[in-house]
C-alpha cells in the first residue's frame, strides 16, 4: 500500500510506502554505533586567553584528567613568552569502549604583551594550516581510508571577569576567528562575580557581540530544524558561560565534590547554581560534540576550500571537460574565456 507522501515531496518519483511487517532497518543504528565505537574519534580543542585565566585548569576539569600542557611538560615554567606560540598536546582517553584522541592546543602569550597588535595571526595561521593539510590529503589520488583530522573543532575563548564589556582585543579576535572556527566564549574565574553582576555582564557581552557582528557557536544560520533552533536558542541566551575550574575535591554534605574552597564557602564547580561549568561541559561534550565536528567539516572547512580553490584558480569541474573531446570548438572557447 503506497501512502500519499507525494504532497510533501517535491520529487515526483519518490513515494512513501508502508511496511507490512518487520524488516530490520532499525538495526542499522546499531551497526553505525558499533562502527563509530570501533573507529574512535578525534577531537581538537583550542584554548585562547591571557595567562592566568585558568585555561589549563578548565581543560583538566572538562576532561577529568591532566590533559593540559601544564600538566604534561616536564619542566614547565610559568614564564610569559615574548610571542604567541602554539603548543599542542594529544592524549587518548577512553570511556565505556569509546576511544577519543583529544588534542588540546594552547596559546601562551596571547594578549600578554604590551603591544598586542596582530597577536591572533599565529592562531589564524595554525587553523588554516590544519585545513590546508586536510585539503591536501583529500585531493590526493591515492587517499587514505581515514584522513587524520587535525582541524580545530572548537576554540574556547576566555574572557576575564571584568564585569564591564568586551575589550578591543576580544572584539578583534572573535571577529576574525568567528569566520574560520567555532568560538565558544566563556567568562573565566567567574567566582569573582555575583549572580546579578554576572547577568549584566553577560547581557552586555551579548550586545557587544551582536553590534560587532560576531557569530559564536552555536551559529544561528546552521540550525537545521525548528527543534534544534529551540534548543540552540536556549543555549545562545545563556552564552557566554561563566565557569570555574578546579581539580581539587572537597567534602560537601557528605559527598565528594569538585570545588574551590575559600574562607566564605566552597564553590561547587558542578553545581549549576554556583557556576555554569556543567552547562559548558554538556554543550561541548555530551550534546554537541558531533555537531561541533560537523560544523567544522561542513561549514568552516568548505569555506576554506572554496576560498583556496578559487584563489589558485583550480577549478576541478573543468577537469572532466578537458578530458572529453571538444565537440563544438566555439562554445568551449567561450567557456574558457569566461574562466580566464
Amino acid at each position: 500500500m503506497i501512502t500519499a507522501a507525494h504532497a510533501n515531496n517535491p520529487n515526483p518519483y519518490i513515494q512513501g510506502t508502508d511496511l507490512f511487517g518487520y524488516v530490520g532497518i532499525e538495526a542499522v543504528l546499531d551497526q553505525m554505533r558499533r562502527k563509530t565505537i570501533k573507529a574512535g574519534l578525534e577531537f581538537n580543542i583550542m584554548v585562547v586567553g591571557q595567562s592566568g585565566l585558568g585555561k589549563s585548569t578548565l581543560v583538566n576539569t572538562l576532561f577529568k584528567s591532566k590533559v593540559s600542557r601544564k600538566s604534561c611538560t616536564p619542566n614547565y615554567e610559568e614564564k610569559i613568552s615574548k610571542t604567541v606560540k602554539l603548543h599542542s598536546v594529544s592524549h587518548v582517553i577512553e570511556e565505556k569502549g569509546v576511544k577519543m584522541k583529544l588534542t588540546v592546543i594552547d596559546t601562551p602569550g596571547f594578549g600578554d604583551q604590551i603591544n598586542n597588535d596582530n597577536c591572533w595571526d599565529p592562531i589564524v595561521k595554525h587553523i588554516n594550516e590544519q585545513y590546508e593539510k586536510y585539503l591536501r590529503e583529500e585531493i590526493n589520488i591515492n587517499r587514505k581510508r581515514r584522513i587524520p583530522d587535525s582541524r580545530v573543532h572548537c576554540c574556547i575563548y576566555f574572557l576575564p571577569a571584568t564585569g564591564h564589556r568586551l575589550r578591543p582585543i576580544d572584539v578583534e579576535f572573535m571577529k576574525r576567528l568567528g569566520k574560520i572556527v567555532s568560538i565558544v566564549p566563556v567568562i573565566a574565574k567567574a567566582d569573582t562575580l555575583t549572580i546579578e553582576e554576572r547577568h549584566e555582564f553577560k547581557e552586555r557581552i551579548r550586545e557587544d557581540l551582536t553590534v560587532n557582528g560576531i557569530d559564536v557557536y552555536p551559529q544561528r544560520e546552521y540550525d537545521e530544524d525548528p527543534e534544534e533552533r529551540v534548543l540552540n536558542d536556549r543555549i545562545r541566551e545563556s552564552l557566554p558561560f561563566a565557569v570555574v575550574g578546579t581539580d581539587k575535591e572537597h567534602q560537601v554534605n557528605g559527598n565528594k565534590v569538585l570545588g574551590r574552597k575559600t574562607k566564605w564557602g566552597i564553590i561547587e564547580v558542578e553545581n549549576v547554581a554556583h557556576c555554569e561549568f556543567a552547562n559548558l561541559r554538556d554543550l561541548l561534550i555530551r550534546s554537541h560534540l558531533q555537531d561541533l565536528k560537523d560544523v567544522t567539516h561542513d561549514v568552516h572547512y568548505e569555506t576554506y576550500r572554496v576560498r583556496r580553490l578559487n584563489e589558485s584558480n583550480v577549478d576541478f569541474s573543468d577537469l572532466s571537460r578537458s578530458a572529453r573531446p571538444l565537440e563544438n570548438g566555439c562554445a568551449d572557447k567561450c567557456e574558457s574565456d569566461s574562466h580566464l
Binding site: 562502527k35 563509530t36 570548438g329
Partner: protein, 415 residues
C-alpha cells in the same frame, strides 16, 4: 608546534563523550539513511517479488516483456520508515537482461549505470562550492545477482557479468526460485557455483569479520553463500498463523522458514547486520578505486616523473596549459579550414564567371555571323533591286523611243 607523544590517560570521573556514538546516530536519524540495491537477473526470475518480500511492502511493479532490444535499467526510489529510522531506498532492476539473442553487450548498460553514479558523486566532490552532506547518494551499495536454478552450474553470461562488476560493486549472488531444487541438489549446486566463482577470479562480497560482535555470525553466513531464496508476498495459513509462503498442491514453501530456504539469512545479512558495512565498502573501496582510475586517466598523478610529489595544482596548471594549447590548435585548424573553403568557393566562382564569359563570347560571335550573313543577303537583294531598276529604266527608254519613232512615221504619211 611541538607535540608530545600520544599516551593513554585515565579519567578521574565520567566525562560524557561516550555519548558520541549516540549523538552521531541521532544526527543520522534526523538526516535519514540512503541505501541503493541493484538487482540483476533474467526477466521473470523473481527480482521484484524478492524486493517486495525483503522490505515487506508492495513496490510499484509491472511485468516486463521478453522482447526488449537492449538491456535497460529501471531505478525507483522509495521512502521507508521503521520506528524512527527513515530509509531512502533505491531499487534498480535490469530490464530485458538475458533476453536478447546476442548477449555480448548485456553487461554494458549495468556497468555504465554504476559508473554514472560514481561519476556524479565525483563531480560533486570536485566542485568548488559543494554540498556533500546534503547529497542524495545514488551509488549502488549492494548488487544482488540472481542465478537461475538450473542445478548445474553458472551460465557464461553470469560469469562474464559478475567478472565485470566485481571491482565496482559489492556482489551478493543469490539462487532464485530455490523451491525448484531439492536439498541435495542445492548443496551440490552451491559448491559448484562457489568453485566456479573462485576459479574465474570473481570477487564477491564477503561479510566482514573484523568486528567481534558479528564476526561469528558472518563467518557462518559466508559459508552459506550463495543464498537460495524464495520470494512471496502472499500469505498462507500454516498451523494457526499466516505466513508468507507459496502454496503448491504438494505442500507449502514457507519463505521465512530457515529449513525451506535462505531468505531469512539474506535479510539478516543484507539489512540487519551489514547494511552499514556495505555502504562503507562502496564508499571507501569501490568509489575510491573509480576515483583513482578516473583521475589517473585524466592525467593526474600524486608523484611527478622524478618521484617528487606533484601537487594537484601543478598538474592542473600543466593540464590547463595543454588544454589551452589544444584549444588554440583547434582554433587555428578551424581558421585554416575556413580560409581553405573561401579559396575553394572563390575558384568555383571564378570558374563560373569564365564559363559565362565564354558563353557570352560564343553568342556574340553567333550574332556577328548571323548579322554578316544577313548583310550579305541584303547586299544581294540591293544588287538585284538596282539591276532590276536599271533594266526597267532601259525598257522604259526603249518603249519611249519606239513610241516617238512610230509618231514620226505617222506624221510623214499624213503629208
Amino acid at each position: 608546534i611541538w607535540l608530545t607523544s600520544i599516551r593513554p590517560l585515565s579519567l578521574a570521573g565520567h566525562v560524557g563523550f561516550d555519548s558520541l556514538p549516540d549523538q552521531l546516530v541521532n544526527k543520522s536519524i534526523c538526516q535519514g539513511f540512503c541505501f541503493n540495491i541493484l538487482c540483476i537477473g533474467e526477466t521473470g526470475i523473481g527480482k521484484s517479488t524478492l524486493m517486495d518480500t525483503l522490505f515487506n511492502t508492495n513496490f510499484e511493479n509491472f511485468e516486463s516483456s521478453h522482447f526488449e532490444p537492449q538491456v535497460k535499467l529501471r531505478a525507483q526510489t522509495y521512502d521507508l520508515q521503521e520506528s524512527n529510522v527513515r530509509l531512502r531506498l533505491t531499487v534498480v532492476n535490469t530490464v530485458g537482461f538475458g533476453d536478447q539473442m546476442n548477449k555480448q553487450e548485456s553487461y554494458q548498460p549495468v556497468v555504465d549505470y554504476i559508473d554514472r553514479q560514481f561519476e556524479s558523486y565525483l563531480q560533486e566532490e570536485l566542485k568548488i562550492k559543494r554540498s556533500l552532506h546534503n547529497y542524495h547518494d545514488s551509488r549502488v551499495h549492494a548488487c544482488l545477482y540472481f542465478i537461475s536454478p538450473s542445478g548445474h552450474s553458472l551460465k557464461s553470461l553470469d560469469l562474464v557479468t559478475m567478472k565485470k562488476l566485481d571491482s565496482k560493486v559489492n556482489i551478493i549472488p543469490v539462487i532464485a526460485k530455490a523451491d525448484t531444487i531439492s536439498k541435495s541438489e542445492l548443496h551440490k549446486f552451491k559448491i559448484k557455483i562457489m568453485s566456479e566463482l573462485v576459479s574465474n577470479g570473481v570477487q564477491i562480497y564477503q561479510f566482514p569479520l573484523d568486528d567481534e560482535t558479528v564476526a561469528k555470525v558472518n563467518t557462518t553466513m559466508n559459508g552459506h553463500l550463495p543464498f537460495a531464496v524464495v520470494g512471496s508476498t502472499e500469505e498462507v495459513s500454516v498451523g494457526n498463523k499466516m505466513v508468507k509462503a507459496r502454496q503448491y498442491p504438494w505442500g507449502v514453501v514457507q519463505v521465512e522458514n530457515e529449513s525451506h530456504c535462505d531468505f531469512v539469512k539474506l535479510r539478516e545479512m543484507l539489512i540487519c547486520v551489514n547494511m552499514e558495512d556495505l555502504r562503507e565498502q562502496t564508499h571507501t573501496r569501490h568509489y575510491e578505486l573509480y576515483r583513482r582510475c578516473k583521475l589517473e586517466e585524466m592525467g593526474f598523478k600524486d608523484t611527478g616523473p622524478e618521484c617528487k610529489p606533484v601537487s594537484l595544482q601543478q598538474t592542473y596548471e600543466a593540464k590547463r596549459q595543454e588544454f589551452l594549447v589544444e584549444l588554440q590548435k583547434r582554433e587555428d585548424e578551424m581558421r585554416q579550414m575556413f580560409v581553405q573553403r573561401v579559396k575553394e568557393k572563390e575558384s568555383e566562382l571564378k570558374e563560373a564567371e569564365r564559363e559565362l564569359q565564354s558563353r557570352f563570347e560564343q553568342l556574340k560571335r553567333l550574332h556577328a555571323d548571323e548579322k554578316s550573313a544577313l548583310e550579305e543577303k541584303k547586299r544581294l537583294l540591293d544588287d538585284d533591286q538596282s539591276s532590276f531598276g536599271k533594266r526597267r529604266a532601259a525598257a522604259q527608254l526603249l518603249q519611249a523611243q519606239s513610241l516617238t519613232a512610230n509618231g514620226k512615221k505617222d506624221k510623214d504619211r499624213k503629208k
